[in-house]
């Protein structure tokens, strides 16, 4: 069952493969595609080759030259510097993702199957929360967390990510559950299932695809986030993005360290994207609201 939120990008069947003569337009098409792909990969080439050089080998004028030998020094150093922050990011991202997904699923269930008076107004008001510039709530959020003694800890940051993640998770689940026929809900009610029975026995088992979409989306968003992270944490609780932005600065910028750090920071979300790209795209498209 597909998430109804968006039009899945299915590959077209490649029927029009002309046998024999190759058309010049096709050649130009492929040259253009390969050239563009090359341009998109330039930064990746630089990240990988530079991070494999030793700091002494990084020559500003000759950065495009391949490394003489593969040196893992920068990776080892970046990893040892960033590992506490990697752990912070994991401790933050995993619970925040799961909690906001679960709450979003319950909200989506209520909004699609138990429409209450005013739901048509409440839902857009919820969604507005995912578009606001977070600067407009940052000072009160900072004040609240400080008065709750959550400022500077991962707990405060986690709370912020859960709350501001609710609009998008609710949106994806609501649109998904809206496609489940109401007859199934009614059949469940005739069988004596209540609010929770219908959820656990009918909807939840059907929700696996949208849980994957939501979990990937939230994981990526929270892992990559910077504004909350830099404002609400202290040295000990900094997530990886904040640590990366401060890595290798100082007097002489250590580029190989920065590139190795960038690689480590990007690795989890890029792996998720490569392995589960289909679901990543769905989350991406759901974010543009189209109900």
């Amino acid at each position: 069952m597909d998430a109804p939120v968006i039009v899945p990008i299915a590959s077209r069947p490649t029927t029009a493969r002309t046998v024999g003569r190759i058309k010049p337009q096709r050649v130009i098409l492929y040259i253009l595609l390969i050239a563009l792909a090359g341009v998109f990969l330039i930064p990746i080439y630089l990240v990988i080759t530079t991070s494999l050089k030793s700091p002494q080998e990084v020559d500003l004028a000759r950065i495009w030259v391949l490394p003489q030998s593969l040196r893992l020094d920068s990776f080892v150093f970046a990893f040892s510097t960033l590992s506490p922050n990697l752990i912070n990011s994991l401790l933050l991202t995993v619970p925040a993702t799961l909690i906001s997904a679960l709450l979003g699923s319950l909200n989506g269930y209520v909004l699609s199957k138990w429409r209450f008076p005013g739901a048509n107004i409440v839902f857009p008001l919820m969604l507005f929360g995912m578009f606001i510039p977070y600067q407009s709530i940052l000072i009160p959020l900072f004040q609240l967390l400080r008065s709750l003694n959550l400022y500077g800890s991962l707990w405060g940051l986690m709370l912020a990510h859960i709350v501001y993640g609710l609009p998008i998770t609710t949106l994806i689940f609501r649109n998904y559950y809206a496609e489940v026929p109401n007859e199934m809900i009614e059949a469940g009610q005739i069988d004596g299932a209540g609010f929770f029975g219908i959820y656990t026995q009918i909807l939840f088992p059907l929700s696996l695809p949208s849980f994957v979409v939501v979990i990937i989306w939230q994981f990526t968003q929270i892992w990559n986030e910077y504004l909350f992270a830099v404002t609400l944490t202290n040295k000990a609780s900094q997530p990886i993005t904040v640590a990366l932005s401060q890595l290798g600065g100082g007097q002489a910028i250590d580029f190989s360290l920065q590139m190795a750090g960038s690689f480590l920071t990007a690795l989890p979300t890029v792996l998720v994207y490569i392995l589960l790209g289909r679901y990543f795209i769905r989350g991406l498209l759901a974010g543009s609201v189209k109900g």
Partner: protein, 366 residues
């Protein structure tokens, strides 16, 4: 009985989320709005806070100290325009290329879209180096033996189309009122009389409020001139690298949604491939373009981390309101002025997002 109890449970289950969002979104915005009307400074436990009306906003638009904020607004306008053109153009091109029944489609799609999975912090760190004046892209020509370039990228101090200080509050207020009036006219023509009248009244209220409360003041005339900072282009390139895959994905979804029969019919009518795109495909992609403009536009209005990581906190050529708000509030401890900047950012975003949400849900509910 059973049904009503379940209905009650349903409302109880969604309540915690609604209460949290009510506090964290609307409560906090109200608090920021109030702070922006005070002189709250400092981190002390019990600060003395006085209500000073619209003074902060007036200062932002008039005093020499806040020249930076006005540069931020101009940077944001130019950044948004170039970023939208680049993302939409490149995204559409990529989508059309990939839609040509090519081999290795998944491979190309993956390459063009993967920057979306990265943090703006990673993008900023990597592109900071690519744009380093004595290294990075400037030395790329030397790979094939050509002399290195000396483009200053985001440290470029060049300003184009320069102009002297003018009263920004009038321009900004004018734009907001214009947006509201257009919104009201659209609503009116769709027969939604009541909301149209409300939007009309709000815009009249803003005009009246501004006329009554904000004294006609112009900025100090000895301040530096404003203009299009060429350095912005470097940020646009990095942001486009990251976000054009998103435009490609939604255009691709749109292209795949166009039935093959439509193209076939056009072909039978004698259209060539180019004409099919010009007269059949592109008109059908218009609604998608509109949502892309709104999503990308609101991202560029609130952009912060990419610019902050790339160019730091003191590069006025590429500065944006998001950075200014962060520094004013959390480095300068000037919470009231920071709140005022945040409110202006919120208004800019709301002007494009509120009509979008209203429209989407109107269509859904009828």
């Amino acid at each position: 009985m059973r049904l009503t109890r379940d209905r009650l449970t349903a409302i109880l289950m969604i309540m915690p989320s609604l209460i949290l969002l009510a506090i964290f979104v609307y409560g906090f915005i109200a608090q920021t709005a109030y702070s922006s009307l005070t002189d709250w400074k400092g981190m002390s436990e019990n600060p003395i806070i006085n209500f000073i009306g619209l003074k902060n906003f007036q200062d932002l638009f008039t005093t020499i100290l806040n020249y930076r904020f006005r540069v931020d607004l101009i940077n944001t306008v130019f950044f948004t325009i170039f970023f939208l053109i680049a993302c939409l153009g490149l995204g559409l091109l990529l989508a059309i290329l990939i839609d040509q029944k090519i081999r290795g489609e998944a491979f190309f799609r993956t390459i063009f879209l993967f920057p979306m999975a990265l943090s703006f912090v990673v993008t900023g760190t990597v592109w900071r180096w690519l744009f380093a004046p004595s290294s990075g892209l400037n030395t790329l020509p030397s790979v094939i033996g050509l002399p290195a370039l000396s483009t200053p990228w985001f440290t470029d101090k060049t300003k184009l189309f320069t102009f002297a200080g003018i009263d920004f509050s009038k321009i900004l207020g004018g734009l907001i009122v214009l947006g509201l009036v257009i919104f009201a006219i659209i609503l009116w023509r769709r027969g939604r009389r009541a909301p149209a009248i409300i939007a009309g009244i709000i815009s009249l209220g803003i005009i009246g409020g501004v006329l009554v409360t904000v004294p006609i003041a112009s900025t100090a005339f000895n301040e530096p001139r404003y203009g299009l900072n060429v350095a912005i282009i470097a940020i646009v390139i990095a942001a486009t690298w990251q976000m054009s895959g998103y435009t490609m994905a939604i255009y691709l979804a749109g292209l795949r949604g166009i039935p093959e029969e439509l193209r076939e019919a056009a072909r039978v009518d004698g259209c060539n491939e180019f004409q099919i795109y010009r007269f059949v495909v592109l008109p059908l992609l218009q609604p998608i373009t509109l949502s892309a403009i709104i999503i990308l536009g609101h991202i560029s209005l609130k952009i912060f981390d990419l610019v902050y990581v790339m160019a730091g906190d003191a590069n006025l050529q590429v500065d944006v309101p998001g950075i200014n708000m962060y520094l004013t509030s959390f480095r300068g401890n000037n919470f009231s002025l920071g709140s005022a900047i945040a409110m202006i950012m919120l208004i800019l975003v709301a002007v494009i997002i509120v009509p979008y949400l209203t429209n989407t849900f109107r269509a859904e509910n009828t």
